[in-house]
Amino acid sequence: MVDLDRYLKPDQKYYTAIGLEGSANKLAVGIIRHFPGQLSESNRAEVLSNIRDTYITPPGEGFLPRDTARHHRNWVVRLIKRSILESKIDIDELDCICFTKGPGMGAPLQSVVIAARTLSQLWNVPLIGVNHCIGHIEMGREITGADNPVVLYVSGGNTQVIAYSEQRYRIFGETLDIAIGNCLDRFARTLKIPNDPSPGYNIEQLAKKGKNYVELPYTVKGMDMSMSGILAYIDNLANDLFNNKKNNKIVFNEDGSPKITVEDLCFSLQETLFAMLVEITERAMAHVGSQQVLIVGGVGCNERLQEMMKIMVLDRKGYIFATDERFCIDNGIMIAHAGLLEYRMLGEGFDLKDTVCTQRFRTDEVHVKWRD
């Protein structure tokens, strides 16, 4: 077991950290408390505050990084104030200020790290940069108690199957092109459905009313998968449906009446994409010899994905872990948690020059010092 208290000061009763997340369209602040000793069933991290404000765009619209960055810039101070108020902590109790170093969108990451650097100099509290995905994994493990799961990380920007080995979270299989969340969001745009609370959520509600399954390309290659082909194919079907292209026999019957509905398309897209995810996850489990699966990332809140994964995992007599939207959607508490773990091992913060954000930041680049 790794000693997490090598830098515990004699009179220190707990550790406290604040986490700032803004790699995509969600700005989030979280404050967490660890008590000395190993994290376990009996020694859980305490969530003091976990608030989030999502930059919403009108239906059919994507979001420009500059507007997202502006949203983060103009809300971050208010959110931090509210979070500290809510957590009832005193500023000088803070051991470190954690921020998302990457991966993510450049401009939004920048807005948040400037706030973090300013606070660090204002309060003289060390800075810790956190890999967004490691945040999801560590928070997922802490909340669900899964000690060594295969992790399926599915969000707007990422699609990865990850397994821990030798102090690294290694990427087992991943998307060869666009992330699953991105695929769902862009299809939502084609359908012009609202982005509030999230395009993925609205696709899920439509999919629940879908009845007949439309055959879509199934593109798994070994441990990886690709989705841009599926998106192009289903976009085409949707456009033919909207533009009444009667010659498309998949979409229209002989008599010209539509054979499928938007709900059917959403249903079929989910069935195909999630089947691919569950397949590569099962392959990773068999390979690593693990019986646990943890789903993290925004798309992890999808009930159909959780249901399909559960069927597979129970079939293998394993266990499935998923978190609710407080944790599986981008949040600040996960950055605080992962950052605090790093801080407890380092005993000091990053130099200012090391707090530069990066849009590309692979999960297996991080040395996981806090696990043996």
Binding site: E166, F172, G222, M223, R283, E307
Partner: protein, 259 residues
């Protein structure tokens, strides 16, 4: 996998006595002494009285239509690869006997024999016999065998086929010590040197993790065998594959978690 899956398999294999050999993420491998259509009196395949049945069970998490399509498609493409390998003399692979693509069933020739400890003569089990005895682990016989295995993979890649899951358990030594490649569930046709490099990298990591003591020599001999099949104008192709192999190793292609 649960017993319902084995029951399921038996419903498609009426009156066939089977024993489970292994269970992977996708398929169950059974063994039987009954040939599907040759009366035992004239079983023409060589004296082997054992046959392999590879069964892809339905995956209940998938939509039924999608599941049937996938099972059918994968069973057929694996059989097609066995067909291709029949036409490539240099590569040893099990022969196809029968296929029931709708129910995801593939009958094929059984390869290998029982080692002293009753295990199947896979390269893994065969090498493990010498684990605790350096003098036996690095003999000429082992060297020749590993070079032979390397040649098999070289011939496979020369014919633009990629295995997709090369481990020492997917290589079987026959009675007359010929090396056979098995389990083409993840195999595909590919001219890309990148795919061939990843094939080699997956094997290297597998050898490293299952035979850590002598993995340096084993991987060296495998590569020697592999390179020996590329002669004449093929050598530029070999150089390109080996260069890609280096990139893949440096990038620590995510397959690295095999180690």
């Amino acid at each position: 996998m649960s017993d319902t899956i084995i029951e399921n398999a038996k419903s498609h294999l009426r009156n066939i006595q089977v024993t489970v050999v292994s269970q992977g993420a996708e398929a169950i491998i059974f063994q039987t002494t009954q040939h599907p259509y040759l009366p035992s009196s004239i079983s023409t395949s060589s004296e082997s009285l054992k046959f392999i049945i590879k069964y892809r069970p339905p995956k209940t998490y998938r939509h039924r239509t999608l599941d049937q399509q996938l099972t059918k498609h994968r069973t057929i493409s694996e059989a097609r690869i066995l067909q291709k390998l029949t036409n490539i003399a240099e590569v040893n692979a099990p022969s196809l006997i029968a296929i029931d693509s709708r129910n995801g069933i593939l009958w094929m020739e059984h390869i290998g024999y029982e080692l002293a400890n009753k295990d199947i003569s896979s390269l893994k089990n065969w090498l493990w016999q010498f684990n605790h005895d350096e003098s036996k682990a690095l003999t000429n016989e082992v060297q020749d065998t590993l070079r032979a295995v390397g040649r098999q993979i070289g011939e496979l890649h020369k014919n633009d086929l990629v295995h997709g899951d090369l481990t020492s358990s997917n290589i079987i030594l026959s009675e007359n010590s010929k090396a056979f490649l098995i389990d083409f569930g993840l195999s595909s046709q590919s001219t890309l040197n990148e795919d061939k490099a990843v094939d080699l990298y997956v094997l290297e990591r597998a050898i490293l993790s299952t035979h850590p003591l002598y993995s340096y020599e084993y991987n060296k001999w495998l590569l020697e065998g592999y390179s020996s099949v590329f002669s004449g104008k093929q050598e530029t192709k070999l150089k390109e594959i080996l260069r890609r192999y280096e990139d893949v190793r440096l990038r620590g292609r995510k397959r690295s978690m095999l180690g």
